[in-house]
Symmetry: none
Subunit: 200 residues, 4 copies
Amino acid sequence: MTSAGQARGRKRDSRVDQALIAATQELLLEVGYAKLTVDAIAARAGVGKAAIYRRYATKQEMTFAAAIHDLTLEPPPDTGSLRGDLVALIEDIVSSLANGPAAAAVPGLLADIHGDPALTARFLNTFVALERTYIVGVLKRAQGRGEIGDVPDPDLVHALLLGTVFASLFLLGVGSDGLAQRLAALVAAALVGPHAASDA
Amino acid sequence: MTSAGQARGRKRDSRVDQALIAATQELLLEVGYAKLTVDAIAARAGVGKAAIYRRYATKQEMTFAAAIHDLTLEPPPDTGSLRGDLVALIEDIVSSLANGPAAAAVPGLLADIHGDPALTARFLNTFVALERTYIVGVLKRAQGRGEIGDVPDPDLVHALLLGTVFASLFLLGVGSDGLAQRLAALVAAALVGPHAASDA
Amino acid sequence: MTSAGQARGRKRDSRVDQALIAATQELLLEVGYAKLTVDAIAARAGVGKAAIYRRYATKQEMTFAAAIHDLTLEPPPDTGSLRGDLVALIEDIVSSLANGPAAAAVPGLLADIHGDPALTARFLNTFVALERTYIVGVLKRAQGRGEIGDVPDPDLVHALLLGTVFASLFLLGVGSDGLAQRLAALVAAALVGPHAASDA
Amino acid sequence: MTSAGQARGRKRDSRVDQALIAATQELLLEVGYAKLTVDAIAARAGVGKAAIYRRYATKQEMTFAAAIHDLTLEPPPDTGSLRGDLVALIEDIVSSLANGPAAAAVPGLLADIHGDPALTARFLNTFVALERTYIVGVLKRAQGRGEIGDVPDPDLVHALLLGTVFASLFLLGVGSDGLAQRLAALVAAALVGPHAASDA
DNA sequence: AACTAATCGAGACGGTACGTCCGGTCTTGCA
DNA sequence: TGCAAGACCGGACGTACCGTCTCGATTAGTT
C-alpha cells in the first residue's frame, strides 16, 4: 500500500472533486486559460480555496486535471487496413484536442507543463505513453497483415501524427477539416508506397 | 504616417534596445519563461521599465521580439532532390526551435500568442507565411524535376513538417537526433514512393 | 430548564476539560495570545476541535476560561487599618494579573472582550463585581473604624486601584515592585490625610 | 544622515499617506478594530495594498499610526495650583482616549503592542515618555510653589493617572463624567493632605 | 445483551484575511 | 524628449485560521 497508516478523520467529499472539475471546465470555456483564477474556480464550485489546495499543489495541477479529466483515448479499432486504423487514431487525437475545455487549455497547459517537472512526468506517463502504445499496436497489426515490412520508429510516427494535428490546430490555425483522412493517406503512403494513397 | 511629424527631443538610445533583447534572452535561459518578470528584465538591462513600455506594448511583445530576434529562416537551397531540399528545410526549422532563448520561450510564447490577436497576426504574417513560401518553393521545384505529380496541399505539408519537429521537441521530449533525415525520408516516400526512402 | 430533558448518550470526559485548559495555558506562555490558534490547542491537548466547540462558543471564550481558571480573588482580610486592607487587596490584584498565563492573555483578552457583549457581561459580573464588593467592604470597614468620614465613590476607587496596577503592568512596563505598598499609602493618604502615609 | 545614498525615482505621494490615515480612522469608527481589514482600508483610500506595505510592515503598524496620528498631548498649562494642573492633564488624557478613532482602537492596539517589540518601543518612546515629562513638570511646579515637599515617584503618579482613566473607560465601563476633577482632587489630597480636596 | 444516543480524535469543509508578487502606468529629477 | 529609479493601482497568488460538519470508533445509560 502507498500508506500503511490507517486513514482517519472526515473523508474527502467527492462532490467537491466533481464541482471543481466542472467549474474549471466551465471557466476555461468562458474566460479562457489566461484569465482563469483560483478564486473564480472556488466561487463557481461553491468551495473554499483550501479545498482546492488540499487536492492540487498549484493552479496548474488543478487545470491539468480538469482539462484532461474526460479525455479518454480509445484503443484504435482494427479496421482491416493500416490506413483505416490511422484514420481512426488521428480522429481520436483530433477530437481530444479540438473540442471542449481541453482545446481552450492546451496552449497554456503546455507552457505550464514545461515549467513543472512533476507535471511533465505525469503528462508523459499518461497521455503520451498510452498514445504511443496504441501507435505501436497499429504498426504491428499492419506488419502482421503484410502491409509493411519493418516497423518504423514509433516515436517518429507519434511525433508525426500528434504534431501534425497540433500544428494544424494551434500553430497554423488552418483548421482540421478532413485532416485525419489526408494525414492518414500521407502516412500510409510513406510506409507502404504512394499507390496506397490513390485508392482514397 | 506615424513618422510624418518631425522628431523632437532626445532620440531613442539603441543601446537600450540591445540591452533589453540581451537581458531577456539571458533571463529566458536562466529562469525560463514562466519566471520571467519585467522588473527583472529592466534590472538586468540596467534600464527603467518605462523604456520597455515605450518600445513594446506588453511583456508578451517584448518576449516575442527577444525570442525571435536572431531567428532567420534561410531560403532552402536547391540540393537537386526533394529529399535533400526537405532535409535542409527541416534542419533549419529544428535549429530555430531547439536552441537558445527561443527553445526556452516557445511553449510559453505559444500560449500568449493564443490570447492576443495582434501577436497572432504578427506570428502568422512573419514566420508562418515565410515558412509556407519556402515549402511551396520546394514542392514546385520537385514538380519541375518530375519527382512528384500534383503539388500536395502546402498547409498539410507545413503542419506535418513544423508539427513533427514541434512535437518531438516540446510534446514528447524524445529529442531530435537525426530527425531531419528520417522525417524528410518519410515525407519524400509519401510523395514519390517508398523506394525513395531506401537510398538513405 | 435546559437540563430538563433526560440525559442520554456518552458523558463529557472531564479529562478533556482539564487537558484543554492546560494546553491553552501552556500555549499562552509559549507563543502568546496573538499566535494562539485553536488547532494548536486541540493538537496539544490531544483533542478534536469539536470537543472544544462543544464546550465553548468561540476561541475567546475558551481563552477567557483558561486564563481566569485558577484566578481566585481572596476576600481581603481585616488587617486593622485601611492601609493594611488596601495593601492586601492590591497585592491580590497584582498577583492575579502579573503571573502565569493570565499575564500573557490579559491585553489580548481585553481587546476581545471589547467586541463581544456576552464576554463583557461575564467579565463585569464576575471579576469586576466581586472586586467592587471587596472594595466597598474595605471602605465600610474603614468608616466603621473612624478612619474616614464619608465613603468615597467605590467606582473611582476601583478604577484607581485596578487601573494603576494595570497601567504599571501593561501600559508603562515599569514593573510592580513595591507597588502595593506605595499605592496603598497614596490612596490612604488621599482618604485620611498625608500623615497616614508617613508611618510607612 | 540615515542614508547616504541619494534618493532617486518617484517620491512617495503624500496624498496617499493622508488617504490611508483617513480611511483607517473612518473604518475604525465604522466597523471597529476587530473587523478592520487591510483590503478595506486600501479600497476606501483608493490605494493599492502595495502602497500600504511600502509604508508599514504590518496591519498593526498601520493602525497604530492612524490611531495615534492626531493625538497631540498638550503641555499642561500652569493653572496656579497642583490640583488645577492635574485636572488639565487628566482631561487631556481623557480626551485622547475617549474620543475619535483612538477610542475604537485602544483595546485592540494595546494587544498588538504587546506582541511586537518594535511597536512597544515606539509607544514607550513617544506617548509614554512625553506624558511622563509633563507629569514631572507638574510635580516640580507644585514643589516650587511649596504645595508638596518631596517629589513622589513620577512613574507611580503616571500609572495612577493614566491607569485610572484607562480603567474607567475600558475596564469597568463606568464612564468618565467628572473623572478629571474627582481624580485630581484625590491625587492632590494624597500629596498635600485631604483638606485640599474639600475646597472643591 | 441489544439498542440508542451523545462523545471522542481526526481532519475536510466554506469563508475570509493576510502579506507577497507582478503587470502596466505615472512621476521625479537629471541629461 | 529620453532615461533610470521607483511609487502607484489593481488584482491573483498560496497560506493560515476560524467555526462547522462528517467519519468511524467508543462509551454509556436504556430496554
